[in-house]
């Protein structure tokens, strides 16, 4: 077990926290607000970005509510170093100490990223695609999942925290702010997220036409996803744009709701909504092709989804602000940015660097 003791605190914000300390090796233990603490069985769903949603893996877990507040408190000293160049020192290793000046190694360097933005804008001008989410992955060093999760939580509790160790040895930690969808009975709600600003900069985000357009586009994409699954004319957008004030940022989301048809299963829902439109772009099929051509490594669990299911209700988080352990014990952490015709390549690069600051 790791050094960090996880305690049962308020259920208000905790989503899922899956830790090796609670498991017996083969099965894992799940901790989630979906339970009232009686330890009943819940289903746990997981799909990597490249895994079709229909082939998402389903596990069983035991439910128990917790908070990650203690993880954050134990590591409150961590300070991000936001504007380091991407892959500026390809041979360097990142030290254990948070906030070290050495930049992390990344899958695309500055030049590769800027070329990617230029290429996407040309494809947009030609009519081939409307928006593409371009991401990079940085290699980061961490003692274990707890240390990395603590770094991700250093600036406050995430909406959806998770720490997962799979029977096959794969491991992820996530401090995601994004809900992919939730189901209560036959009611489904998606909450696409597009647009990020530093904490306190809500007015700037509100005024950003580029961010407004991106969210409108992904909102229509999610409506389309739900229209394929829902009772005709039941899909609605009760709120086209609202702001989530997070400890480290402000983010814009919309609400898309609908009533699932009787013949639609949870697997059908995952099959349609994953990978989430906000991490692909639109149209999804063209955006995914461009992503696989431009990004030089697979996204893996980053941009995938982790969901919990109990008694017909389910809630799935989109795995952004997520790190995955790779074979040699190091971790990769992904960050990305939505590229549209209005994108300024340098500004997108700055946004990606800023997001990398969460683990740098």
């Amino acid at each position: 077990m790791t050094a960090v003791e996880l305690e049962a605190l308020g259920r208000e914000r905790a989503f899922a926290l899956l830790g090796p300390g609670f498991g017996d090796g083969a099965a894992w233990t799940l901790v989630t607000e979906l339970s009232e603490g009686d330890g009943g069985e819940v289903g746990v769903w997981l799909a990597a970005y490249e895994t079709p949603g229909r082939r998402a893996r389903r596990f069983k877990g035991r439910a128990r509510p917790v908070s990650v507040g203690t993880v954050a408190a134990a590591n409150a000293g961590a300070q991000p170093s936001p504007r380091a160049p991407l892959g500026g020192a390809a041979s360097s290793e990142v030290g254990e100490s948070p906030g070290g000046a050495t930049p992390p190694r990344v899958s695309l360097d500055d030049g590769g990223f800027l070329d990617g933005v230029a290429s996407i804008r040309e494809r947009i001008a030609a009519g081939d695609v409307y928006q593409v989410n371009l991401t990079v992955r940085a290699r980061v060093e961490a003692a274990d999942g707890a240390a990395l999760l603590a770094r991700l939580c250093a600036r406050g509790e995430p909406r959806f925290a998770a720490w997962v160790r799979l029977p096959d040895g794969a491991e992820l930690v996530s401090a995601s702010p994004e809900l992919l969808f939730e189901v209560r009975g036959r009611a489904i709600r998606a909450e696409p997220m597009k647009g990020t600003a530093p904490a306190g900069q809500r007015a700037w985000l509100d005024a950003s036409e580029k961010d407004r357009a991106e969210l409108a586009m992904i909102t229509d994409l999610l409506r389309d996803d739900l229209n394929r699954l829902c009772v005709p004319r039941s899909v609605d957008v009760p709120c086209a744009r609202r702001f989530l004030e997070l400890p480290y940022a402000v983010q814009a989301v919309s609400d898309v709701t609908g009533t699932l048809r009787e013949d639609v299963s949870l697997r059908d829902v995952v099959g349609q909504l994953h990978p989430g439109g906000s991490v692909t772009g639109a149209p999804r099929e063209a955006a995914c092709e461009i992503i696989s051509a431009l990004e030089r490594t697979p996204r893996g669990l980053y941009c995938g989804t982790l969901g919990l299911e109990r008694g017909g209700d389910a809630r799935f988080a989109l795995l952004i602000r997520t790190a995955e352990r790779v074979r040699d014990g190091a971790w990769t952490y992904g960050v990305g940015s939505g590229i549209t015709w209005d994108s300024d390549a340098r500004a997108e690069l700055d946004e990606v660097r800023l997001k990398l600051g969460a683990v740098a």
Partner: protein, 190 residues
């Protein structure tokens, strides 16, 4: 003509197709969703053809010959975005690159038309396009433009065929459903 028409919907690899389908004033069971390649064989059984939106351009998407086939059979046809551009190319307009506008709302000025009876004036409309029709000529007529002149809707002078460059299916086109319903009424389906 039947009151509840059989609709043939051409899906072109888009993420907004089912929004358009949900926007149609008919039961879902009456909508047959096919690819452009499958559509020609299905035309004889269609009362209305709807050419959905999508990426690339109408030639690469294989839609222009389909428009010619529909015109020959006089099948009422509504084109949305890519489908609208297909109508233009099939009847002699040019397609050019314009300033890409994706997820952007604009005010569209719609004049009185045969295909959209009862809907005129300024309309809030969501746009998702990089290409625009130019040099629209007979037998097509422009029925809506942006303030800068960009073509936003066309209709055929004689045949029951019309195209919308913007997305009537978007959550940010408030009168979109009304407009599509007007098309069905305009081509003879109450």
């Amino acid at each position: 003509m039947p009151a509840d028409p059989q609709v043939l919907f051409v899906e072109s690899h888009d993420s907004f197709s089912w929004n358009v389908i949900d926007c149609l004033p008919c039961a879902r069971e009456r909508v047959r969703v096919v690819s452009a390649a499958e559509a020609v064989d299905q035309l004889p059984r269609a009362d209305v053809l709807v050419l959905g939106p999508g990426p690339t351009d109408p030639l690469r998407a294989g839609l222009v010959t389909l428009v010619h086939a529909a015109a020959e059979r006089r099948v009422p046809t509504l084109g949305v975005c890519l489908g609208h551009q297909a109508l233009g190319l099939a009847f002699g307009a040019r397609l050019r690159r314009s300033t890409p506008a994706h997820g952007k709302v604009a005010m569209v000025e719609l004049r009185a038309s045969r295909c959209f009876p009862g809907v005129t004036g300024a309309l809030r409309a969501m746009r998702y396009h990089s290409l625009s029709l130019d040099d629209v000529r007979a037998p097509l007529e422009v029925v809506a433009r942006l303030a800068d002149g960009t073509v936003m809707a066309v209709e055929h002078r004689e045949l029951p065929m019309a195209g919308l460059q913007f997305h009537p299916d978007s959550h940010q086109t408030p009168r979109g459903r009304e407009l599509v319903t007007a098309f069905f009424r305009g081509v003879g389906f109450a």
